[in-house]
């Protein structure tokens, strides 16, 4: 029995039961579509997050208070939220402690709004250093200047604002030199950043940067920092510097056992690896769920093929009587089930591509994320292979049932 004819026969018989065939492959279609979308959206999300993380720069090392969270619901991170203080900053600044550190800048997040005249805006307010902001993100005020060491030492009420903040408060007129209100305290605008958009974990256009000393003393009234941002001299010095930082802070905190640490250190590489791990596990988990749906779909195919074999008992008997071998019959039904599931796979790939594209389109256009559509080529090949494989695996039993029919009984079957 030649292959072309076998294919034609299989198609003819599938076409004869159009609605049944389509319902049968629905499970496979949904499964493959889901795999395509999961992998594509997973890739997109990973790209988005990694893009933001890498915005913080390879040399950047961030020290955070508390214990490193081990999971999303780990509350340990909040236990020592006030552990990083001025003495840590002073210790880190000593060359003898951390030789390859070129800059240290404590950071505070200040909740609240800014206003000017009748306009009010809720930006992201950081108590930080203008220098770290500029060097880490390579962004300098387009108008005005950065505030310097003096402003930090004197706890000056000065601010540099993002382009969107400027637009919301001042419109087209100049901002530099004007006095804005942050949490009802007056600040003088000394600089305005050029538009940049999303980098690292925040939007540059929506920030207000003020000296961390000012934020600590006048706005928040606290004596600790939310984090300490530092920069190593070069990316290759990061690993060593991390060790030095840990040793230094342990010393200032009087900690001897690292498991008692009340702080943790974050690097870009570490975060990237962590995110890749999380995304990998997530994708694998979802794919496993989808794999179960494919198995269920495969059982559906097997069920329908068994019905089909029973229905066509006389046809099988006739084919055998006029010279079909067991192998011919096996091949015929196997090809039929493989065509059925492969067809499901094709439709699934098409739908999956469509929905992945739609997702990225919606996220880019309407949500405004910097999302790139990635065609999941691997998922497509996997999807097609898996769907054909499902047809093969779940088609074997019905095809075997067909092949082993006794022609005499099959011919008599009513």
């Amino acid at each position: 029995m030649n292959f072309r004819y076998t294919f034609k026969t299989a198609f003819t018989s599938l076409k004869a039961n159009k609605s049944r065939s389509s319902l049968t492959i629905l499970g496979i279609v949904i499964g493959i579509t889901a795999i395509m979308v999961i992998v594509s959206v997973g890739n997109g999300a990973e790209g988005l997050i990694l893009g933001e993380v890498s915005g913080m720069g390879a040399q950047t090392i961030v020290v955070r208070p508390g214990k490193e969270p081990k999971g999303p619901s780990d509350m340990a991170g909040t236990l020592y939220s006030d552990s990083l203080k001025a003495r840590d900053v002073a210790a880190l600044k000593k060359k003898s402690n951390v030789p390859y550190l070129i800059d240290v800048a404590p950071a505070l997040i200040v909740p609240g709004s800014v206003s000017y005249g009748g306009e009010t805006y809720i930006p992201t307010i950081f108590g930080w250093t203008a220098k770290m902001m500029s060097e880490m993100l390579n962004i300098y005020p387009a108008e005005g200047v950065n505030f310097g060491e003096n402003a930090i030492r004197d706890k000056a009420s000065v601010a540099i604002i993002g382009s969107k903040v400027k637009k919301e408060l001042f419109g087209a007129s100049d901002a530099v030199g004007k006095r804005i209100k942050i949490r009802n305290k007056k600040f003088r605008v000394v600089g305005v950043y050029p538009p940049r958009g999303q980098v690292a974990f925040f939007n540059v256009d929506e920030v207000v940067i003020i000296p961390y000393t000012t934020a600590q003393t006048y706005l928040l009234g606290i004596n600790y920092f939310n984090e300490i941002v530092t920069r190593a001299a070069s990316p290759s010095a990061v690993a060593r510097t991390v060790k030095d930082i840990e040793a230094t802070i342990r010393e200032t905190h009087g900690i001897t056992d690292p498991s008692d640490d009340d702080f943790f250190v974050v690097t870009q590489e570490g975060v990237v690896n962590q995110i890749k791990n999380i995304m990998g596990v997530l994708t694998a988990f979802l794919s496993a769920v989808v794999a179960i749906s494919l198995v269920v779909g495969g059982i559906g195919v097997m069920n329908i093929m068994l019905v089909s074999v029973t229905e066509r008992t006389r046809e099988i008997g006739l084919r055998k009587a006029i010279g079909a071998t067991d192998g011919d019959i096996l091949k015929q039904f196997l090809i039929e089930s493989v065509i059925l599931t492969a067809l499901g796979g094709f439709i699934g790939v098409a739908l999956g591509t469509f929905f992945s594209f739609l997702t990225s389109f919606v996220l880019t256009r309407f949500v405004g994320l910097d999302w790139s559509f990635s065609f999941p080529a691997v998922a497509m090949i996997m999807g097609l292979a898996v769907s054909a494989f499902v047809g093969l695996v779940f088609g074997i039993y019905p095809a075997h049932q067909a092949a082993k029919k006794n022609p005499i009984e099959a011919l008599r079957y009513e």
Partner: protein, 238 residues
């Protein structure tokens, strides 16, 4: 060499305590070109005999040689190939593929023959023409009369040019007029093409078209003789 040689053939169904003998001590020889009717009431074992002759079943004991070889000389696939190339089958219930055209139905044995696909259409058209069905090639079985369906089945049996044609009650599902037409065709195949035909029937009237009749009763041959007053299907058509 005889085309078919049957010697002391026995078929017993079941094993162990309860056994039902279906055929007992069957012996006969069929030469090429013979037209034999195997007759008997239902339960006489004639279908069982046809199945054994058609390599669809195996005897319990005794010898059956087809073209000098027994079923045990062949592998499973060779048995299928022999059925395909050397034997043509026509069934009482036509057994055509539904929703499949006359042409495709007739081509079916060629699919398993190893003959090149490019030759299938011409071979099928030739036998369809000899059955007078050329105008019906695109029709599906449901659009044909019973007589036409059985002619399609005969065309299908002939398409591989077999050594013998087995017919199992070919007129059983037909009205008497269609039945006569079908018998005329079968007779013509015997007379004009010298084909070897073995036909099973329980009707005397159908058996009388054959040249020789083997009568079975309870699994035994009770008579094996030439047909004295052969019927000629053409007499009734006129």
């Amino acid at each position: 060499m005889a085309l078919i040689e049957v010697k002391n053939l026995e078929k017993i169904y079941g094993d162990g305590e309860v056994t039902t003998p279906a055929l007992r001590d069957i012996s006969f020889i069929v030469e090429p070109g013979e037209f034999i009717a195997v007759m008997g009431p239902s339960g006489s074992g004639k279908s069982t005999l046809l199945h054994i002759l058609g390599f669809l079943d195996r005897q319990t004991s005794g010898i059956y040689r087809f073209e000098g070889k027994t079923i045990d000389d062949y592998s499973k696939d060779e048995i299928a190939r022999t059925r395909n190339k050397k034997m043509g089958f026509v069934f009482q219930a036509f057994n055509l593929l539904a929703r499949t055209s006359v042409l495709e139905n007739v081509k079916l044995p060629l699919v398993y023959s190893g003959i090149k696909q490019t030759e299938w259409d011409a071979m099928a058209m030739e036998v369809i023409e000899s059955m007078g069905l050329t105008k019906r090639i695109k029709h599906e079985p449901s659009q044909l009369s019973g007589g036409e369906r059985q002619r399609v089945a005969i065309a299908r049996a002939l398409v591989n040019n077999p050594s013998v044609i087995f017919l199992d009650e070919p007129t059983g599902n037909l009205d008497s007029k269609s039945g006569r037409t079908v018998m005329e065709i079968i007779q013509k195949l015997s007379e004009e093409e010298k084909r070897t035909i073995i036909l099973i029937t329980h009707e005397n009237s159908t058996a009388e078209y054959a040249k020789r009749t083997i009568r079975l009763l309870d699994g035994r041959i009770v008579s094996d003789e030439k047909v004295a007053n052969r019927r000629d299907a053409r007499d009734f058509i006129k």
